[in-house]
């Protein structure tokens, strides 16, 4: 059993555009999701920003369950008039999003 290699940290905040960057690093698989789920939710809850950018530059991998989680996050935030953008997806992650059909749904 490996320790899940995943971390989610607050990045920069731009007050002009009211955008908070959140940095993802490691692998978002089943164990990884279990580890960061609550932290990410509370990070989003506590932040007063309206816009969030999920920076996936350091994210190596994402599985379908985690994608489902992102979708539910997006819907939840949308209800509170907040939105998410995903940036710096590597080719593997972009492929997965593309295959599932999510590039049309998420702003990437």
């Amino acid at each position: 059993m490996f320790e899940p290699k995943i971390s989610v940290t607050s990045g920069s905040f731009d007050s002009l555009s009211d955008t908070q960057v959140i940095l993802f690093s490691g692998q978002l698989d089943k164990l990884g999701l279990e580890k960061i789920r609550k932290d990410l939710e509370s990070m989003l809850e506590k932040s007063p920003s309206k816009n969030f950018i999920f920076d996936f530059a350091e994210l190596e991998f994402i599985n379908s369950e985690s994608i489902g989680f992102l979708v539910s996050l997006r819907t939840h935030l949308k209800k509170n008039e907040k939105n998410i953008r995903l940036i710096h997806l590597n080719s593997q992650i972009r492929d997965v999003f593309d295959t599932i059909g999510l590039l049309t749904v998420f702003s990437v």
């Binding site: 089943k30 593309d98 059909g101």
Partner: protein, 378 residues
């Protein structure tokens, strides 16, 4: 007195001191007043009185408390009702009492957890049985095709599903994968299986099935859940294959003529994401020449990890198909792909359900398939 309460040894020491004290006092008294002032009777009285007092202390401090602890221990060991021991003592007897309480508490907690676990395992096994009865136990015999379908859930109840439904001169078949696994995923996949069965009898095109499935699912499933799927249709008469995608993994096709493997994007969007997916998917024809083999898979296979955290991946799956398709029929290909995956994962347990469908165009041949080849449980 606190000094003496701390251990039994100290208590015994106290009794000893007491005896010594009384003895010394008696001797002193005798010395002062002369031995003759005491009759035998008096000596005996004092002696037995002192001993009696010592025994009483011994009983109060050691024997009786130990006996109480032992009583409860005996009750526990023989399966009778036992009670928690209340004490404020901090000496050895106190330790015994607290130890007993702690052991009894943990035993009770483990027992109830074990019972809960057994009850849940019982429920899961029932759910798994229900699910097993929904998924086809054997791959069907379809005119012009040899078919193999294999699935293995990661947990008791899986999120992967597939089915083959022949209506008149066409056969619909699909491979679907609900996010996650376990009971919630299993419930969704059972629902979808039922719907596909119904829709196959009503619609001509896999496109319609996918659109209607999506509409039904979107209303009923939670936000974080969705289902990827590829819905295929084989026309017996025209010997043509077509498909409509719902965000599923790629379709691999082994081309017998060129000995190569095509990787085709399934297209579409996963079921349950948007309320209307009709603009995002369509029915696409898939050329399938004689001896060509179609491979459908769920991401449990490509995302299977080895001990280094490396994934099996699409390339390895493609290589496996390339290697085995020329030599084996679908059953053989499936077994060898499973072997490759097993070797790669080095005994590491899969996180996700794994499923595979292999379909080979055999032209006019009617090939009889054996029972073993047709079993779908991996």
């Amino acid at each position: 007195m606190k000094f003496f309460r701390i251990t039994l040894l100290r208590k015994i020491f106290f009794i000893f001191l007491l005896l010594e004290g009384i003895g010394a006092a008696a001797l002193f008294f005798l010395e002062k007043n002369g031995f003759s002032s005491f009759s035998r009777f008096h000596v005996t009285l004092i002696f037995s009185g002192t001993l009696f007092f010592a025994f009483v202390l011994f009983w109060i401090w050691m024997s009786h408390p130990l006996y109480q602890v032992l009583c409860q221990m005996e009750a526990l060991l023989s399966g009778r009702l036992y009670k928690k021991i209340y004490t404020e003592r901090t000496d050895e007897v106190g330790v015994f009492a607290h130890f007993f309480n702690e052991v009894a508490k943990r035993l009770s907690s483990y027992t109830s957890r074990l019972q809960e676990g057994q009850r849940m395992a019982g429920e899961l096994s029932t759910a798994a049985e229900i699910q097993r009865s929904i998924l086809p136990l054997t791959a069907p015999i379809i005119p012009g095709l040899i078919v193999t379908a294999k699935t293995r859930p990661a947990a008791e109840v899986g999120g992967d599903s597939f089915d083959f439904i022949t209506v008149g001169e066409k056969t619909f078949f699909y491979l679907g994968d609900v996010t996650g696994h376990g009971v919630p995923a299993g419930l969704i996949m059972s629902m979808v299986n039922m719907l596909v069965s119904t829709y196959s009898e009503v619609f001509e095109s896999p496109f319609d099935i996918v659109v209607n499935l999506n509409r039904q699912l979107k209303r009923r499933i939670q936000l974080a859940r969705f289902m990827t799927m590829v819905m295929m249709k084989w026309d017996h008469v025209q010997r043509k294959l077509s498909y409509a995608g719902a965000g599923h993994e790629h379709i691999l096709v082994f081309r017998a003529k060129t000995g190569t493997v095509d990787v085709i994007k399934t297209g579409g969007i996963a079921l349950g994401m948007v309320s209307d997916n009709s603009q995002l998917t369509k029915e696409i024809p898939l050329d399938l020449a004689e001896n060509d083999v179609v491979l459908l898979y769920s991401d449990g296979i490509t995302e299977g990890k080895n001990m280094n955290g490396e994934m099996f991946g699409l390339e390895r799956l493609k290589d496996s198909l390339l290697r085995y398709a020329p030599q084996y029929n679908p059953e053989g290909i499936a077994q060898h792909v499973a072997d490759d995956l097993g070797h790669f994962m080095e005994g590491h347990q899969p996180d996700d359900d794994i499923s595979l469908i292999l379909v080979k165009n055999v032209g006019d041949l009617t090939v009889a398939q054996n029972d073993v080849a047709q079993k779908t449980q991996w």
